[in-house]
Amino acid sequence: MDYRENTHRFGRFWVLTVIVLLLLVPVAIGLYYQVLPDWNGLWRGLLGVVPIFWTVGAIEVFTYTPMLGAGGTYLAFITGNLTNLKVPCVLNALQAADAKQGSEEAEVLSTVAVAVSSFVTMSVIALGVLLLTQIQPLIESETLQPAFDNILPALFGGLGVVFISKGWKIAVAPLVFMVMLFILVPSLAGSVGILVPVGALIAIGVSRILYRRKLL
């Protein structure tokens, strides 16, 4: 069996294992403390979360899988923090290695990038929790607050220059649309996850038209 086929086999096995493990966490807590959840609270809590996050979750699978490759996808969805970390990290790695999207090189490097990013995240959080009393005053200080409030603009600013300069003809339309949309309807800021595929569809539509007219 080849590498890609095995990646899917192992990936599915690991994701299923993690699903079972995650479900076992509340089961174990319930058994250990001899309690049941508050069913009414559970139902109402889920009503506030499931409609939006299941939609975003489904959208993320369709949008990010072609970007992350198979190994990167299985690992990134388990280790989480996709939009704010794993996807930009993979874009950074592929850009630095000048790897062609869809190639086996991109598949392998994407997996390496996601794995390393997961280790670093786990290590930083573990160290942070262990040294909490020492570092809490520093990282929660008012001086540093703007830096953590502005991670996304800092992250996507640099990334934007790299990718827009390579495909500005495709980027103009979705970029103008999104800037106008967020200026006119700022309340959509909380729904950016749903707007990612809207941006992608506009970009795909524009690129298809340009490609057919041989302008790309």
């Binding site: 699903i19 995650l22 190994g71 062609k100 390393v116 997961s118 800092a154 941006g199």
Partner: protein, 243 residues
């Protein structure tokens, strides 16, 4: 008396984290071996490791801040578990807020009722489950579909993936403008984004003019960390001007 910081909850967290770290090791070793087979130079692999690690540091610290924020109501082990793996700060905070609201509690108070805590854990668990199930069901199909598109028309396949990237980047660059209606302070994220773009431009110029090819590996981390660092004086300056 129940505590969301009990040893039992730390134990559960440790078990899940070890397993998922093991999974990352497994995928890393497979990818590394494959890289050698297909002839990816060791230098490229090392560069990928270093640049990914550097790139992750700042967002990881922001995730740690999320853990600390959620620990005020959920204790440390649960946010530690949820944000080290599987979750994202946007989701976990929203899920925890939805569950605590439904229970008539607040995110600012430590939960001392095991049934309420268990309810929050179930909401956080079920609320994120769909994407994992879809990954199992769809990843291979999506990848096969992309391969078919590339086989039929390689150039269009490449453009299609670039369009996905650009769509995502456009959405987040648009988001940066969401607060401009609030006045001058609402422009702070825009100024930070421009700083990050300028830093990337400077890196690009240095690479071209001085032939500093090594800078390619660090240009994105430099623009991100530099943008974050510059956000401190930018915020200070804008707030002073806005007063």
């Amino acid at each position: 008396m129940f505590s969301p910081n009990s040893s039992f909850l730390y134990l559960i967290t440790a078990v899940v984290l070890v397993l998922i770290a093991g999974q990352s090791v497994f995928f890393l070793i497979r990818a590394w071996r494959r890289a050698k087979v297909i002839g990816i130079p060791m230098a490229t692999l090392k560069k990928t490791v270093i640049s990914s690690a550097v790139y992750t540091l700042a967002p990881a610290v922001s995730i740690l801040l999320g853990v600390i924020a959620l620990s005020k109501s959920l204790g440390l082990p649960l946010p530690w578990l949820r944000l080290s793996v599987i979750g994202a700060i946007t989701y976990e905070t929203a899920a925890a807020a939805s569950a605590t609201n439904a229970l008539g509690l607040s995110l600012g108070t430590l939960i001392d009722d095991p049934a309420a805590f268990l309810t929050v854990v179930w909401v956080m668990t079920i609320g994120i489950m769909l994407s994992l199930i879809l990954v199992v069901l769809l990843t291979k199909r999506i990848e096969t579909g992309m391969t078919k598109i590339r086989t039929r028309d390689e150039k269009w396949g490449g453009i299609l993936v670039s369009s996905l990237f650009l769509g995502m980047i456009s959405a987040f660059l648009g988001l940066v403008f969401a607060k401009v209606g609030e006045g001058l302070t609402g422009w702070i994220p825009v100024f930070v984004m421009i700083s990050s773009m300028l830093l990337m431009g400077v890196c690009g110029a240095l690479m071209k003019l001085l032939k500093w090819k090594w800078l390619l590996d660090y240009a994105l981390p430099i623009s991100m960390l530099g943008g974050m660092a510059l956000s401190i004086p930018i915020t200070h300056l804008v707030r002073t001007l806005a007063q």
